[in-house]
Amino acid sequence: MKVGIVGIGITDFKIHDEPFYNVAYVAAKKAMEDAEIERREIDSFILGGYDNLGVGRTISNMYVAPAAGGYLRHEIRVSEDAAFALPLAYMRVKSGLSDVAIVLGFGHSSETPVELVELQSLDPLFHRDLKLSLQMGYAMQSYVYRNSFNVSEEDTAKVVVKDRKNALKNEYSFLKESISVEEVINSDMAVYPLRRPEIAQWCDGCVAFILAEETTAKRINPDPIWIKGLGWTYDNYFMGTRDLSKLFATAKAAEMAYGMANLKPSDIEAAEIMDLTSDYHFMILEALGFAEYGKGKELIDSDFPVNKSGGALCTNAYGSTGAFLLANLALQIREGEIEKGIAHAMTGIGQNAAIAILSS
């Protein structure tokens, strides 16, 4: 029995004036309208996003469960990027415990000092006093990556140019400003070695998916988008123990997803990847098996479609970025542009990864 995506709801990704739960409600409504189903047909409510410190309220599900249409129903939440909630929804449906499930992902950065929040995830005795911001963690990886593989500023600038160009054509993306390689290279150094445009900016936005088991899926939607492979894993918490030139968690999660789908990288026709920095763009493509380690830059001029959405560099809402990319990949399949694609999400300082392989 297959599990398919039969409804997708994406809100505007921007700085929202409404609180996250009202934006989440819009996404859930849109997904149900897209699937043409009523909320009573849904029997699993899976919530994803950064609750607690992330939105400044504990038990955020108190807000998001009703927004998902799950008033007084059972709900369960994954306190991670909402892309990490997809496997849980898949398992509910695949196990036969659920016929129709909703995944509702909320991402809200504009009310939250995200760097200060993420600092609290560092060990309070050994690391928190070092005042490492999330972006400084990313930059430490960039420094190792660039030095290990001789990656130039021109190489990484091209990633920004490419993502920005794609975002201009995507109605859902947040940052819509084209930029040239020269402009990237001449922009201010923000978090060495990363310049301002090479680091994703924060925004707000929510995404919802309706999942259904095969028979129901086909009844709801003649062309469901099938979930073929899923993978997720994590790397060592201690940065000093990791090989920072590679994304171990992404590689392992991809291995798991390819194995489940019985597919290999060469079968994949497009990728949506969570490139929170320009360097991560290359590092992710390498870990997903599309290039050898250190050779990700060679893909920049190839015709293999990466981040048609504009990527995380153009749309990054704390908690729903991965879900946004997943939704964009699903839409490419629905539009008939590709048959098989891979969506990647990554959290922490590259320590956690979740991968989904979708097909028509």
Partner: protein
């Protein structure tokens, strides 16, 4: 136009350092950095921990490592983050002599306003040493930062 309200969490926790953390922090008072050795893989781990997560066995012997080592990576922020110190400041990972894992730390002792200078000074493999606080109190901040070793 919507109203906005500022709210704040100030919650005092009391965390236990555990046996391993206690030994590590006590040693800092004497300008000593202590790691712990895994009996199976033989790695000297910093920060010290009760078990080796890779081998899933209790760690055994304590090993004093040097307060000198080499730079694995560095970054400097030139932008201000809410609630974090004013820029510029530098963090990095240093692999201390005698340790098998890198240690997250602050780097300094040079003018951080020029990133080219930072890059020249703290290249991967560059030698650095700990600059200790005068009045140590058994906290990670007893190491002010790591500075370049001349020569």
């Amino acid at each position: 136009m919507v109203l906005k309200f500022e709210t704040k969490w100030e919650i005092p926790y009391v965390h236990s350092a555990g046996e391993h953390g206690t030994k590590f922090f006590e040693a800092l008072k004497d300008k000593k950095i202590m790691g712990v050795k895994c009996p199976e893989c033989g790695r000297v781990l910093i920060p010290p921990r009760a078990f080796c997560e890779r081998c899933f066995v209790d760690t055994a012997d304590w090993v004093e490592v040097s307060d000198e080592g080499e730079v694995v990576t560095v970054t400097v922020t030139y932008i201000k983050f809410t609630g974090l110190p004013d820029p510029p400041y530098a963090t990095g990972i240093v692999k201390l002599d005698g340790a098998d894992t890198g240690m997250l730390c602050l780097l300094g002792g040079i003018d951080l306003s020029d990133w080219k200078k930072v890059h020249e000074t703290f290249k991967p493999g560059a030698r650095v040493r700990a600059v200790w606080k005068e009045e140590r109190e058994g906290k990670i901040t007893d190491i002010l930062y790591f500075e370049p070793v001349e020569g």
